[in-house]
């Protein structure tokens, strides 16, 4: 019963909350649609925390996405053990990198009085959830090796079953607790992200790449192109 809630109901709740929450926040409070940087208050530790964390989490998330979206490609690729070792090794190294950054960021929030002044309870909760997620992920990589391979028969089809609105709990039901924690915590993070500072993920300023350097705004007349 609990499995049905965690692996068949929670994902839908989380995704709904994420989409509705993000739209709601964007429409009603666009002003708050960003994170509150604390580099101005403390820069040195932020560098060692933020840079490893961000690049680590971006690459690791892209790796997860790749496995979920293109399982057949992955399956073909890892048919040679060397490549499997390579992928797992890289993933593990990146995981350690982001964990290092994350711990430093948490540590920084705890000890820097200036940063504490801008830290809300929810910021701490979020950091702890992320820490649980990272530790669980690395734990899986250590204790249940070759996840890239076995997930192709478990987590990936489960995700596809979720996507096709016919959730098959049995894919997840018999997996170790650590894997379950990693999966459930992921949905929790997705569900709460629009209500936290994580919302800044959606404000990646890609338009900067092609917009003209100068912006001139006319009040009454549209600019002549």
């Amino acid at each position: 019963m609990i499995n049905i809630f965690l692996f068949a109901i929670l994902p839908y709740i989380a995704v709904t909350a994420a989409i509705v929450g993000a739209i709601w926040r964007y429409v009603t409070n666009r002003y708050s649609f960003s994170t509150i940087s604390s580099q101005f208050l403390e820069g040195r530790r932020l560098f060692w925390g933020s840079v490893p964390w961000h690049w680590g989490i971006i690459t690791v998330l892209l790796g997860h996405l790749f496995v979920v979206l293109l399982p057949l490609v992955v399956k073909g690729f890892i048919s040679a053990p060397v490549r499997l070792y390579l992928i797992e090794g890289t993933g593990f190294a990146l995981g350690m990198l982001l964990l290092f950054g994350l711990i430093l960021l948490l540590f920084r929030r705890a000890i820097s009085p200036r940063v504490r002044a801008v830290t809300s309870t929810f910021d701490v909760v979020l950091l702890v959830l992320l820490l649980v997620q990272a530790v669980a992920g690395l734990g899986i990589a250590i204790f249940y090796r070759w996840g890239v391979s076995w997930s192709l028969q478990t987590a990936v089809p489960w995700m596809w079953s979720l996507a096709s609105f016919s959730p098959k709990v049995e894919y997840m039901a018999d997996l170790p607790v650590l894997v379950k924690i990693h999966a459930v915590n992921a949905w929790v993070l997705i569900g709460i992200f629009p209500f936290t500072r994580l919302v800044h993920i959606l404000s990646i300023p890609l338009a900067y790449i092609w917009r003209p350097y100068q912006r001139v705004t006319w009040y009454r007349r549209q600019p002549q192109q």
Binding site: I36, A117, P205, Y208, Q214, R221
Partner: protein, 498 residues
């Protein structure tokens, strides 16, 4: 020709007494909120000195402004992808310690301390953390500290000076300084706009004010590095950047900006300039020694019929054209060529022009007595207490001839008036100085009037904005929707964080 109007400014540095009234006027109006306590949209620094924030002029440190790469003009912060790759940590961002940590005092102790042998003291308390702090920096911490090893001697403008020049500058009893009030320059080619990843900063076409949309700002903070004058600031409470808004709500009511209005020394002038927006990039790319001249050339003569027609085509009405014709800024910058942009080499085409100070330039010679020799005024410029190299580094992108020319004119004005009123300089000598400075008696008389006897309406020529009409005919009527919601364009309380 694309004629646009710009609210521009002149500060006459000889008249600045360093009283900081401008800073206080601004602070009371705009930056007395939590998160903005450390911001001084208007500040007055002592030169030579490191300024606020410390070493703001050092672009190797902060990477503000533009550089010419090949034939391309690009922000010194780097190419666009390079900027984006630094989203997670901006290595060129000044941190709070480069400004100072704002504080208040523990006043309650004075009233509540138990009776004892010692007088209670009010210790400083940080306005960020609420803890007791030791004060190591504050607003105007280096005020009047010429010669100090921490501040004056680290001024980046001294880097081109020889050791002998530096030594003479900081000799005991020979020390010299002047004040440099600074606000946002509302540049024609703003660096902050160019590096804003969110595209939240924009230049208002009607009057040229450079503003940050608080709603669009996502707090990436590149504007803080990208502005070479360090006139955008990060609000650590709201997670947004803020900057001088040129008191646009005041301008729209026909009033001059608050720091101008409150200026005790009456050093400030505000008015309209017309410029050719088509030429911005070309002018900003000019070779360094020609930058000042190039910037003068982008400013258009509002009396010219073609300029008038171009202005009308762009929706600039007769009242604005009239204001441009009466603009004190046009007189200082174009007619008299007395006012110069600060650090033109940043290539942002700033719209705040400075009349460089003459007083600290004239040499004090024997026994600390000012010796203003009638016969050798220009000798005084060559052997100035403040080396011309230093003045040129500030006001003419290193081109000493431009600064010298301005100072010669200022000397001509002085000697002309002295020969008339005091009689310590003969008329012949005064006339010779006029010739040397390349100006006429009537021009000098005009400069004198505008410098010493201007009335309020001579100093500030603010055109009527007719905002109510603009608001009602605006395409999207946003301003009407937001009517009654005061503040910096906020549509709700700007409260964020814990």
């Amino acid at each position: 020709m694309d004629v646009r109007a710009q609210v521009a400014m002149v500060f006459h540095l000889d008249k600045c007494i360093g009283c900081h009234t401008c800073s206080i006027a601004c602070k009371n109006l705009w930056t007395s909120r939590e998160g903005t306590e450390y911001m001084w949209w208007n500040n007055v620094e002592t030169k030579p000195g490191t300024g606020y924030p410390t070493l703001w002029e050092d672009q190797d440190k902060y990477r503000g402004g533009w550089e010419v790469k090949g034939n391309q003009l690009r922000p010194r912060l780097g190419p666009r992808l390079g900027v984006l790759s630094q989203l997670f940590y901006n290595p060129y961002l000044p941190v709070m310690d480069d400004y100072y940590e704002p504080w208040t005092y523990d006043y309650e102790t004075l009233a509540n301390a138990p009776a004892g042998d010692d007088q209670p003291t009010a210790r400083p308390v940080s306005r960020v953390t609420g803890r007791y702090i030791d004060l190591e920096a504050g607003p105007n911490w280096d005020d009047d500290l010429s010669g100090s090893t921490t501040y004056a001697r680290n001024d980046t403008n001294l880097s081109n000076l020889t050791d002998a020049e530096r030594a003479s500058l900081f000799q005991i009893e020979q020390m010299v300084f002047f004040y440099l009030p600074r606000i946002c320059n509302h540049c024609l080619n703003p660096g902050c706009v160019a590096v804003c990843p969110s595209g939240a900063i924009y230049k208002r076409a009607e009057d040229g004010a450079v503003l940050i949309s608080q709603e669009k700002c996502r707090g990436w903070r590149f504007c803080v590095s990208g502005c070479p004058y360090k006139k955008t600031y990060y609000n650590w409470r709201t997670g947004k950047s803020e900057k001088c808004i040129l008191c646009y709500p005041r301008l729209e009511m026909g009033q001059t900006s608050s720091c101008f209005h409150s200026c005790v020394g009456r050093i400030r002038y505000q008015g309209i300039l017309f410029y050719d927006a088509d030429r911005i990039e070309e002018v900003a790319r000019a070779p360094e020694s020609e930058l000042v001249e190039a910037q003068r050339s982008i400013i258009l003569d509002p009396k010219d019929a073609a300029v008038e027609a171009g202005a009308k085509k762009n929706g600039i009405n007769d009242a604005w054209i009239d204001a441009a014709r009466r603009s004190p800024i046009y007189k200082f910058v174009k007619d008299w060529e007395l006012a110069l942009p600060l650090h033109a080499e940043f290539r942002t085409l700033p719209n705040l022009f400075y009349v460089p100070p003459l007083l600290p330039v004239i040499n004090a010679t024997k026994k600390g007595v000012y010796e203003i020799a009638e016969t050798d005024y220009f000798g005084a410029i060559e052997s100035a207490r403040v080396p011309m190299k230093y003045m040129a580094s500030l006001f003419s992108a290193g081109n000493e001839e431009i600064v010298k020319k301005v100072l010669k004119k200022l000397i001509a004005v002085r000697s002309h008036r002295q020969s008339k009123k005091v009689g310590n300089i003969s008329e012949n000598q005064a006339n010779a100085l006029l010739v040397e400075a390349g100006c006429t008696a009537s021009e000098v008389e005009q400069i004198f009037r505008m410098t010493s006897l201007p009335r309020y309406e001579d100093r500030f020529v603010i055109p009527p904005y007719q905002r109510e009409r603009d608001v009602e005919t605006a395409p999207d009527r946003t301003a009407i929707k937001q009517k009654g919601q005061t503040g910096l364009g906020f549509t709700q309380a700007p409260r964020r964080g814990p």
